[in-house]
Subunit: 340 residues, 4 copies
């Protein structure tokens, strides 16, 4: 039985574990002020080409989202998101629990556009309504799509024009930045968004997301907020060491690349088998539409998630690859797809 359910089924990439082992008995200061965290921050700053960025390591993605949004907004302000956005659908109201409305806009492919953002602005006209102040996007999105550099620039422009904060959820940033159709460089991002995070959990770490705050006035007192929301790890170096391993060389991008190439192979298999996709394959999440009897057959050897009925005989499923996905399992899956 092999699982393609998600990209957080295995532990950590061996090079990460190695560094954790190696430094295990060192004495480090607590709360993320240790040397490993500092090094990791330096590596990341170099990678994103933004020396004055503030970087914080946070255990998980939902926590990062709720922390960032509640830190940046005043009580009457809201966040605009695609209706498929993780904060709208899969975080049990984490944002609302901090007091803020999530304004979810209908989107065709998981992506916001300047037009959609403008529409959200247009329907919020006075003090009887929440005030739009932050735009939340994910890259790659929850449906596996990515933002091109041009698309992101256009969103950046409308945000600037309307004094909106732009925040990018990068839980799957590695896959976004290393997929075939991507034209965005990680060092482009700090110029285009006000804050973003570089996901570790879904790209080879045991846990941890690296939040990058780019805009000066958003940096103030952030560690207070982290502590208050329970996001400041006592052993902060555990996250620091992992990001050190991911960014001291090219590992972060290698892992994203691997996940993507595994997904590409599967996508080819699906096409070869004659099947179509719910959304065009692009990153490490695939949404093929498969006949139910094939699905039943596949389920004997493979695990997927989210089977959703398309018509009487077909369902769309989600196949996710990761840094840990093996070629053998991919080959076996392709075989099963084609021979049917």
């Amino acid at each position: 039985m092999y699982s393609f359910r998600n990209d957080y089924s295995e532990g950590a990439h061996p090079r990460i574990l190695e560094l954790l082992m190696k430094s295990n008995l060192e004495q480090n200061v607590g709360y993320g002020e240790d040397e490993h965290s500092n090094k990791a921050k330096e590596y990341i700053k170099k990678s994103i080409k933004k020396e004055d960025a503030d970087i914080h390591f946070i255990p998980g993605g939902t926590q990062t989202n709720l922390l960032v949004i509640s830190s940046f907004l005043r009580p009457h302000q809201c966040v605009i998101t695609a209706d498929t956005g993780h904060i709208n659908v899969h975080e049990t109201g984490a944002i609302e629990a901090t007091g803020h409305k999530v304004v979810a806009m209908a989107c065709s492919d998981g992506k916001l556009t300047p037009d959609i953002i403008q529409k959200a602005l247009d329907i919020h006209t006075d003090e009887h309504m929440v005030q739009p102040k932050l735009v939340y996007i994910s890259n790659s999105t929850e449906t596996g799509t990515i933002y091109s550099k041009k698309e992101l620039s256009q969103i950046h422009d409308i945000c600037r024009k309307n004094d909106l904060i732009l925040f990018m959820d990068g839980a799957r940033l590695a896959s976004a930045l290393t997929c075939r159709t991507n034209d965005l460089n990680i060092s482009d991002i700090p110029d285009l968004v006000d804050a973003f995070y570089i996901g570790g959990t879904k790209n080879g770490a045991l846990l941890g997301e690296a939040l990058v705050i780019c805009r000066e006035e958003l940096k103030k007192d952030f560690r207070f907020l982290m502590k208050q929301r329970g996001a400041m790890m006592a052993k902060g170096f555990v996250a620091g060491i992992q990001f050190e391993a991911l960014f001291q060389d090219n590992l972060y991008f290698e892992l994203g690349s691997h996940a993507n190439s595994m997904a590409e192979r599967i996508a080819e298999g699906i096409k070869e088998g004659g099947y179509s996709f719910f959304t065009e394959p692009c990153t490490n999440q695939l949404f093929p539409i498969l006949p139910n009897d094939l699905l039943e057959e596949l389920s004997k050897n493979f695990v997927f998630s989210l089977p959703e009925k398309v018509d009487e005989d077909h369902s769309v499923i989600r196949i996710v690859t990761s840094w840990a996905t093996t070629r053998e399992s991919v080959d076996r899956l392709c075989e099963s797809l084609i021979k049917q």
Copy 2:
């Protein structure tokens, strides 16, 4: 330079790391519903002799506290704590951020008593005041003291009588339960409190606290709350595996024992050196009162925390030992204390 600053300076105990390594490439389901987490829960249930307890693994202590308290209380209800309680002093208002007042009562040794709890009840008389509903205690406390079985039973009684929920913060439970003067067994606890947590971060884990909910009506929907507060790790097995290692045999208690015996040695050294204590030594936190010039001398080789002025010539410091504290460093510290 050796640090006695806290009990979260090093990584994980080697036997924990080993199990993490061994299971690293296994595929596990996410969000804490994996086999390792299940096993760990079974081990813990056996240890606490409470088969029907609900157990959840949560990344950190502040997060556990805010999650538990906000889950158990209605909006108008408050938590009673010792004024030294971690939730009152060192969590950046995490409890208040979830909407609840922390009623901090003056205590001599970090411990609540039935009398102090009664006093808190007596001053909250009507609907113009918050309603006391939960009692928060730490064991061991923030000043290194512990609750005897009798003391805990008495607190349990007043809580039952007044329909108060009793919650024990066990960030340093290992040290509390294995110290020389302790008469409380871990299996006594579920009968005496409604919920408690077994601290991993400060007793040999990379991160993780095991929350145990004992009272039936407090269990409902807890995983919703975890997710909402960002406390449900995608790779929940990372915490599960660590608690598996801690509770599959006696490791959890061995580590507490080691920390305590290291602290005892140091305490003897302090006494031999002719110095006194701010609070009687008991667990892995020591609060000796030392002459400032000795302190200056020691600071060349050792790191402590919280130096606080007692009089012109003396300060109280905090010395903390842990599962990782070495005998050599303890011996060197004792030597430095005595030769002065």
Copy 3:
């Protein structure tokens, strides 16, 4: 210039003012525990035929909504509403500010149905999503429509079946219960909903809403919540006296009736003028579609709200009548509508 903008343009009905004057120098106990409030509660209980209801007088509607919802829900639970619901659109995120997601469902006429509620339940499947727990409806709705007894019973049934709390916003209950097509008696309501409020502000009072809690387990400690949200007036008798005046005889319903009959006249005028409606006229809010040049003409003598473009030449406006609307102004408006 005469305003049909809303139903809260004038002060209080003279009989209310009279009672306020008459009792002005009496000494009353504070916080709503006075004799006038008690009498008002008795009158209301008699009217709704529910002796064991808990009744609380609250200054305003948004406050009542946020208070009720945050009192009844646990942190992970959400409220289901029509997308046009006041809590979704016009309360500046008041519900979210107390921590709860508002799940807004598309509705054709401002009204929820069992099917729509079921759909909301169906899309909330696990702990990664908020948990639906309360259904919010308004009667009359924000688009002027009402619930029939049968419709309300069906909603009641699906709520019971799914353990959902049913809460009715009755800011305009008077108009709903006295309109021509209504078949719901005020004494039917306590059997069909768990809590509702009887709007005073929009039916002749200076301010004040009478919240009625019908279900036993929702009553507990409600006055604590009122105080905490700033909804417990020091001079509670100011609201109590007004509801005494409204319910000691038939005044409450007379005022609703008057508003409706004024609206009916205007609706007839609109029809006579040959114009149509965006939603069928029913209660004291009318949404006619008028030619822009007529609108311009009317604007010289009348004030309306919400002009919204329908096509190049037509707009929909909102005309609201109230207890204070005069026949002369209605006649003048009709004249202007017909002569065009």
Copy 4:
């Protein structure tokens, strides 16, 4: 039976009622944007000599406090108050319910001093603790004392120096500003605090507090916050008209004066009777220490609040006078005090 329990036992001063009556059938725009509210604001601005102040009318005091504090603070920031402060003791955790810790400092007479504020600053040293950002004072205080101009200036200075916002709760400002020992003019206040409110409820209005925001950067979007917390009255003119009546001439101060002179008379009676005070009489709240048997006798004709045991034979009670307190009742009380 005559009540000296509080200053909110009666309705409104006749001149206020008169203006309400007179304007009752006028049509006003909603939400406080009407002409009466505007006039009232102009009168107040003239009185406080601060043309650029932002003024908002809010139904009640607790609501004003929670609204102001939650609007001005970021999530990790706290408010410093005297331990007797209304927000600490008598608002059912209203401030905490908006997410902020109330740091209550021990004070001898209900008043903060620069030293006490400094102490609060000194104990909040890093990001593991809440960050002091707002100082809350009441004038007159909950124990009937007042701030001199010099005292207030000193508090203003330490706030400026430490970038703290200074907010004055003026629920009983009228009594404070018109008492014999006061040297503070209402027009001094805008230079000394960043925001304050002028209490109406306890000085002759049916309800309503006039919040004055003096500092520019605190004004932004305040009406959004008001709406969100349910503090924006649909019939805002009901509060506006009352403050118009209070400030179009000297009524506001006359009413405070009356309450004080009534209290003075009673204080003289108490002294003549040979009794002492718990806190020195000053404003409209008196805290005499009386023998229990006298108290029992008085209770046959008068109502007081808060009897609290001083020793076996004596209790301290609270006597409150108001704009409505009659000379006859005061004379009768004095008689009863002296003849004993």
